[in-house]
Symmetry: C2
Subunit: 130 residues, 2 copies
DNA sequence: GACAAATGATACTAATATGGTATCATTCAT
DNA sequence: ATGAATGATACCATATTAGTATCATTTGTC
């Protein structure tokens, strides 16, 4: 059980690095710094620019730059890009009627934990990681 | 991202049901009640008895019974049986030196969240689910 | 304008974890 | 003895994640 996948992890590292540079950063540079496989990193960066977290510049001297301020980018946004809606919950017994109350109580308790996790994740922005 | 997998979920349901019965419960009965595929449930129950959460009785009129008291079985134990050590954390950049402090701060923050989740999970026992 | 260096788009493959099945051996109440 | 139960174990299926490959498009530089 991972809270953060590799995708997200790499994305966060890249964003942190880019945030610290005051220029457009090319993949080549990021690959050197992060040691992440180039094609994989490219894919990740592309998605980040599709999702408006990064800005991309094509052509020679192109690359990526942060779109907003580091204070305004929260890691939960990045997690959502690569991991979809974050849900620790989810009932497995869809087809059947719940056989005992145990499960529902369980769901309720898990939900409380989930809410806590959310609250904390929502507080962490890129600026706080640098 | 699931906090609880299907395995664990089924296991918890089964344990809750068994806890409420004052007898040895056979798989056949559990299958009827829970609607979980029989061979899969069997495997789950076997592991639970290997891990001393359930007691098993072979032969005719055999089945499973709770080994301890419902108050003393915590869901985190069951999670560990099927999901291994629970860790939301884990650095992905093992081979390389951490390129920036961002990642380490991230790990630290995730660790805090993880600790919270643990604390809450450790409080939930089977008795509280029934 | 040609060219090289960059990203965009997209399809494919590999690895891993989870979910689930199948089968035969062993035990034990009747 | 027999049949109904679990024990052990090997296998298969599916989904998710991780990663690769390839070609198209843009753009700065000569």
């Amino acid at each position: 059980m991972k809270l953060i996948t590799r995708n997200t992890d790499y994305a966060l590292r890249a964003i942190c690095y880019i945030a610290q540079q005051d220029k457009v950063v090319a993949v080549t540079e990021l690959v050197k710094v992060l040691g992440v496989p180039r094609p994989f990193l490219r894919k990740i960066l592309q998605r980040l620019s599709q999702k408006r977290i990064l800005e991309s510049y094509k052509g020679q001297a192109g690359g990526f730059r942060l779109k907003g301020q580091p204070q305004k980018i929260f890691i939960i946004e990045v997690m959502r890009v690569f991991q979809g809606e974050i849900a620790l919950n989810g009932c497995f017994l869809n087809k059947h009627v719940c056989p005992n109350k145990g499960k529902c109580i369980l769901r309720k308790k898990i939900k409380l934990i989930e809410d806590d996790v959310f609250t904390q994740l929502k507080r962490i922005n890129i600026a706080s990681l640098i």
